[in-house]
């Protein structure tokens, strides 16, 4: 849906996190946009998929007090039970729940609010060479907000990083991208069919966008989520190496899958069951990519 010019600028965010130190250089504030066009089965933030606020249920916190029951006009909320069909994600039950078992995940933020929240840590950003990181969900799925924020932060001299899955209409995001100081670009699989199977979309748009970013000369780091049984076979690794090295000319970071998102999957009633790769296997993958001439970054983001 193309936004109209008259809409107030703002959008649905999952969270804004201060003291974020893994998503780019220095001390950063990370803006988690809500909504993502992809549905990676191993995603560690499934609550960021839906573009709207959404009821989450954290089972282990439920004390069975029943405070939620009368709060729900649709008669859906009850102890020890998560989101049910017909739920409007109105969040009334979450407000009533005294124990934080029911929570409304995400809310609408105006651009002004976002700028102010990020600005709170401006001195820490400046001191550390940090800045702001657009993450999600998928920031490019809210192009008007992203562009507005990118221009405002640019004006303030804030270092900007975008984390993207790469699946977005180029022309809606070209301006915002041109203002980025660094892009983390996810590449998950090189094989069209496998990509379709695990992620739900093909590879064309993603690879084309990656090439455009490379052409524009924006510093880019490719992030490769290593998921055993999904994308760790040699053929895929070699193809990826060639694409990253020959075409993108970008360094790459291997991100071994970790199961920390599992409880969040349960919270929104989806399922995820992938194994963590063994440290040795991760090293082997890194070695293989290096052997192909790819610059593989040692640890997390730099």
């Amino acid at each position: 849906m193309v936004p109209r010019e008259t809409d107030p600028i703002g959008g649905c965010l999952f969270d804004i996190q201060r003291w974020s130190t893994e998503d780019g250089p220095g001390i950063r504030t990370t803006i988690f946009f809500k909504g993502c066009p992809l549905r990676c089965a191993w995603c560690c933030n499934p609550e960021s998929w839906s573009p709207k606020p959404q009821l989450g249920f954290f089972e282990e916190r439920c004390k069975g007090c029943g405070a939620c029951i009368s709060a729900c006009s649709r008669g859906l909320a009850r102890p020890a039970t998560g989101r049910l069909d017909g739920c409007e994600d109105c969040g009334f039950c979450a407000t009533a729940c005294p124990h934080g078992a029911r929570q409304l995940l995400g809310r609408w933020w105006s651009a002004e609010e976002i700028l102010a929240e990020v600005g709170r840590d401006a001195i820490f950003h400046r001191r550390s060479g940090g800045g702001v990181t657009f993450s999600g969900g998928e920031a490019t799925a809210q192009p008007r907000l992203l562009e507005h924020l990118a221009m405002e932060f640019h004006r303030r001299g804030v270092h900007q990083v975008l984390e993207t899955c790469g699946h977005f209409p180029w022309e809606w995001n070209a301006k915002a991208l041109s203002l980025m100081d660094l892009v983390y670009f996810d590449l998950k699989h090189m094989d069209e069919a496998a990509h379709e199977r695990w992620i739900g979309v093909g590879t064309d748009l993603i690879q084309a966008n990656a090439l455009r970013i490379a052409e524009m000369g924006i510093p880019m780091i490719v992030r490769f989520p290593l998921i055993p049984g999904v994308n760790d076979e040699r053929k895929n690794l070699v193809r990826m190496a060639v694409f990253v090295k020959e075409r993108l000319k970008a360094p790459l970071e291997v991100m071994p899958f970790h199961p920390l998102g599992r409880h969040k999957h349960r919270a929104v009633g989806s399922d995820s069951d992938f194994a963590e790769p063994a440290p040795n296997d991760v090293e082997m993958v890194r070695e293989l990519l290096r052997a192909q001439g790819v610059t593989v970054l040692e640890s997390g983001p730099t």
Partner: protein, 812 residues
């Protein structure tokens, strides 16, 4: 998020310098450390016995001469021992890890607690039956009716005594049950420049010029007589150690140790009498002065000042001559670290709760600007960081001064030391420390040359000051405001009777009631301090310490009577700033805004310690809490701190200097909490309050940056008694070089915001719980209790629990 969180890799070296591995002390240091660990803290009564005998034999002496004569006798008679492997020699007790008691100050608590010393939970001491007998038969009877404690209590106005003596509401027990301590020797301009023989000569010359013509000159003559005796005492101590070293050398079969002992004998023949000529003499001089100070008063915060500054010229000279190597220098500094850990400050069980962990708060400050404004960070600054990492003892209290132009290497090494999880160093903002002392009246050069006192008090070798005169419980002030001046736990009327909860109609009235109660407590605290200072000036002169501070010799006046170049106002420390702000905020939200409960109903819940009011408590806990960069409650904390400051500055101490405010902590927030009932913020009765400017444990859920923003809403510069912020990190958040760089930036930004101090507790809750369950396996674990480090396993369970509870910023 479509990507996966980055997995951080372990740091390359576990040491404090990126290229190095684990800190590895020399074999000598390992042996000394093992010997230190093998001994349990014990009581030493030699000093008390000699002191008592001396006073008995010279009943007509003036207090200063009496004290100096006793000091000299102690120096001449205390057993002299040089332990194997030692390079720096001298002991302030008859045995290793011994703590002395000063019956002339207070003996009642010793008598009352004598049987529990060995068994009490916090900081026990070994005490023998023979020691108990001698104390009871020879020592206590003499001091009956003669101690400072008795005089103080006799003179304290009844009302003040009612509010301040052992109530936990206003507490200054360490100022009448113990000597003051809180002193930093002037090595640069006095001790190293003159040597004690020089000081002795100067005192004699000044004495010779005086005639006993009036009361002032009489007092000066007494002062100089005491100075002469004190110098003779320390000279005698040095001579005895020289003799002992020579005696041991004569019997030594190991040729290497023989040379060492001969060298030690030579050094002790030179210092403390003469100015030191090289690094080894200088560092031995430092230790002799420390021994002298401990023997003259068993007190807290006998600081070492800026060791890296005053030893550096000797280091440079030795390097140029080639007479010393960096490795030898490191080993000597390590030896000093062991020595500083070897004596213990013997305190009452009550004081031990306030100052837990056998810590004597001997602060040692490194880094920072020189008096001329240039960066003073040097090789020795780095060696001190390394010593802390290698030796891993609970003393000294290492403080680091950081300024905007300080080398990044130094700051990062500081962060790496903090990462080791021992709780130090305490990291200070150079500029704020200077600003605090400028405001206290120091010249720009002297203010720039500040060093730390005790835990986090900006101090100077030119200052006479009671840096921790009283603790004032802000939680009690809040409680009194809601309860007509009565303690919720036992109903005692310790505050003003100006109305109970039912009489309060608006939030402003509640705030006014709180400030009225606070003002009353400040008044009582100031009275208690002035009386204590007066009694000290009459009965507890400090002849040896007066030799070490500029101004005393010149004026012929003791430190306890205002002899120092600068007399800075005594510090009244507020405890529970966050708790008071949170409680007011919760009352405002629940009672006056949301109106879910009336003030009397809320007070009923507090009386019941929330039992049966769990829903209300859940709402109270949800209210905005200080430490999350939320204006509503943070502005309350700022307002309280400003009012507290103004209240305190409007009163003057015995020296005529306006009092200073502070929000710092020892472990004082624990006993302070134990006398406060449940509070409107959801806190339960008797649970800990909050130290310094920190957030209440577990309530700073946002981020360290948010906590720092909250904490810098407070104007640190105006609280010249020091401010403290405690942040707990788990080791997981500080693994990589990047983490360290970010930590360094975090500190720089925090200081740019105007803060004074920050310290990091880098520890995992799991480790701590394991240590609690199996103390024997975690003897080494050092944590920062509040303003200082202690071995975790030596802390009482409630202190341990409080540390475990503090928020950990885990990155998941």
């Amino acid at each position: 998020m479509t990507t996966h969180a980055a997995v951080t890799e372990p740091a390359r070296g576990a040491g404090i310098f990126p290229q190095e591995g684990h800190p590895a002390p020399t074999a000598r240091i390992k042996h000394l450390r093992e010997a230190w660990k093998a001994v349990e803290p014990r009581l030493c009564i030699e000093r008390a016995a000699i002191y008592t005998r001396c006073c008995r034999e010279h009943p007509g002496d003036s207090p200063s001469v009496r004290s100096a004569r006793a000091f000299k006798a102690v120096c001449a008679e205390l057993p002299v021992t040089i332990y194997p492997d030692e390079l720096i020699v001298g002991n302030p007790g008859a045995e290793r890890r011994a703590g002395s008691v000063d019956p002339e100050l207070s003996w009642k608590w010793i008598e009352a607690e004598l049987e529990q010393f060995q068994t009490r939970t916090q900081d026990p001491y070994v005490v023998t039956e023979d020691q108990k007998r001698r104390l009871r038969e020879e020592i206590f009877p003499y001091w009956q009716g003669r101690s400072l404690e008795e005089a103080y209590l006799a003179r304290l106005p009844k009302e003040t005594a009612w509010v301040t003596v052992d109530t936990g509401v206003v507490d200054n027990d360490s100022k009448w049950r113990a000597y003051v301590g809180e002193n930093t020797p002037d090595f640069q301009d006095i001790v190293f420049a003159k040597g004690f023989r020089g000081i002795l000569d100067e005192a004699k010359e000044r004495l010779a010029l005086l005639e006993p013509m009036d009361s002032e000159r009489l007092a000066q003559m007494e002062f100089y007589r005491a100075s002469v005796l004190s110098c003779e005492g320390i000279l005698e101590l040095g001579r005895r150690y020289a003799e002992e070293a020579a005696r041991l050398a004569a019997r030594e079969s190991d040729p290497v140790r023989l040379l060492e002992l001969e060298h030690i004998a030579g050094i002790c023949r030179r210092v403390p009498a003469e100015p030191p000529r090289d690094f080894r003499e200088a560092i031995q001089m430092v230790w002799f002065v420390q021994v002298g100070r401990v023997l003259s008063e068993n007190a807290v915060a006998l600081n070492l000042g800026r060791l890296d500054q005053y030893l550096h010229p000797y280091y440079v000279k030795d390097m140029q001559k080639g007479s010393l190597t960096p490795a030898e220098t490191q080993e000597l500094i390590d030896c000093l670290w062991i020595k500083l850990s070897e004596w213990v400050w013997a305190v009452s069980s009550n004081t031990a709760r306030f100052f837990a962990g056998y810590s004597a708060f001997q602060n040692l400050t490194i880094g920072g600007k020189r008096p001329d404004g240039a960066d003073g960070t040097n090789e020795l600054s780095y060696m001190c960081l390394r010593a802390a990492a290698e030796v891993r003892t609970h003393q000294p209290n290492l403080s680091v001064r950081i300024h905007s132009d300080c080398p990044e290497d130094f700051l990062q090494a500081t962060c790496r030391l903090a990462r080791l999880g021992m709780g130090f160093p305490a990291i200070h903002n150079d500029r704020t420390g200077t600003a605090m002392l400028l405001a206290a009246g120091l010249s720009p050069e002297d203010a720039r040359d500040w060093s730390n006192c005790g835990c986090v008090v900006p101090h100077s070798r030119k200052i006479g000051e009671w840096t921790s005169a009283v603790n004032i419980n802000l939680g009690s002030a809040l409680e009194f405001a809601l309860n007509d001046g009565r303690c919720r736990l036992d109903g005692r009327q310790l505050g003003l009777s100006i109305g109970d909860a039912a009489s309060i109609q608006t939030f402003d009235e509640l705030k006014d009631a709180f400030f009225a109660q606070l003002s009353y407590l400040v008044k009582q605290a100031s009275i208690a301090t002035v009386v204590a200072q007066q009694v000290h000036s009459e009965m507890a002169p400090r002849p040896f310490l007066s030799l070490l501070v500029e101004g005393c010799m010149e004026k012929g006046r003791d430190l306890s009577r205002g002899g120092a170049k600068y007399n800075v106002g005594a510090v009244l420390t507020g405890i529970g700033l966050a708790d008071a702000a949170n409680a007011l905020e919760a009352a405002r939200t629940l009672v006056f805004e949301q109106q879910v409960v009336t003030l009397p109903e809320l007070c009923q819940a507090l009386d019941d310690d929330w039992a049966g009011h769990e829903d209300l408590r859940a709402l109270a806990l949800k209210c905005s809490k200080y430490g999350n960069d939320e204006n509503r409650v943070d502005s309350l904390a700022t307002e309280i701190s400003e009012r507290y400051h103004r209240e305190i500055r409007s009163r003057k101490d015995w020296f005529g200097s306006p009092f200073n405010s502070a929000f710092m902590g020892i472990s004082n927030y624990l006993p302070a909490g134990s006398v406060v009932g449940a509070t409107p913020d959801g806190r339960r009765a008797r649970s800990p309050l909050t130290e310094g400017c920190s957030a209440h444990a577990g309530t700073d859920h946002n981020s360290p940056t948010a906590l720092m923003k909250s904490a810098t809403r407070i104007n640190h510069e105006s609280h010249a008694g020091g401010t403290l912020l405690n942040i707990k990190f788990t080791p997981g958040a500080l693994r990589t070089d990047r983490d360290i760089a970010n930590m360094a930036s975090l500190i720089r930004a925090y200081f740019e915001l105007g803060a004074f101090h920050v310290q990091f507790n880098v520890i995992s809750a799991e480790t701590l719980k394991a240590a609690q369950a199996h103390p024997e396996e975690h003897q080494d674990l050092l944590v920062r209790v509040a303003g200082y480090s202690a071995r975790f396993v030596t802390l009482s369970k409630d202190v341990q629990d409080a540390i475990i509870e503090r928020t950990a910023y885990e990155r998941v």
